[in-house]
Symmetry: none
Subunit: 120 residues, 2 copies
């Protein structure tokens, strides 16, 4: 029973849609466990357990204030995960003369994002 590394725990945490949704909710403001659990079709203990996973992964910090638990985002691990992915992409794009195609793909994606207005 070996403790998994930080990056594995982070990606494993993000592999669950409920946990990703928790992260998206916390990206704008910190919330209590009760606030969060109202949005999910599961019991409050289940949400608390999801928060345990996020906390152990270093993605969320819980600050107990009296009766309530204030959950907020911790971006350092998120940065680490993003950095790992960026590293792979960097070496990939360096590798080929297919730079043209890649840029074309990327531009299309960015156009999609603009269209959908994903940014609030």
């Amino acid at each position: 029973m070996v403790a998994p590394d930080r990056l594995s725990m982070a990606f494993a945490a993000l592999a669950d849609p409920t946990r990703r949704d928790i992260v998206t909710r916390l990206r704008t403001k910190s919330l209590t466990v009760g606030d969060l659990s109202e949005h999910y079709p599961m019991s409050r203990p289940a949400v608390s357990q999801h928060l345990n996973v996020l906390e152990k992964a270093g993605l969320v910090v819980r600050d107990r204030r009296g009766q309530w638990s204030d959950c907020s985002l911790a971006t350092a691990t998120l940065d680490e995960a993003a950095a790992w992915i960026e590293q792979q992409r960097a070496d990939w794009t360096e590798r080929f003369d297919l730079l043209d195609e890649h840029l074309r793909n990327r531009r299309t994606r960015e156009a999609d994002y603009q269209e959908r207005g994903d940014h609030p």
Copy 2:
């Protein structure tokens, strides 16, 4: 039994150190299953199964050429995962002046505490 979404599958695939190592090896050149499996302390079928996971997640493409299976990286899904993380980070940093808010939270802890009291 619902098929999990693309992003969940991608993050789940990246949650395993062996699979992340496979990705890093493929980022510079495509390799056969045999080439890859030499680097891991597990059987070849195990590596093949890891490749199944990566393939279903859209992170790897296997191109069977005669007797050999050429494994190469597919960056579109990797881009998607990076984009999701970037989105969260963007909103987080946009949200406020980081230090300012943090200090304000700490200093007005008791005031916040009272405010929250009348919210069920």
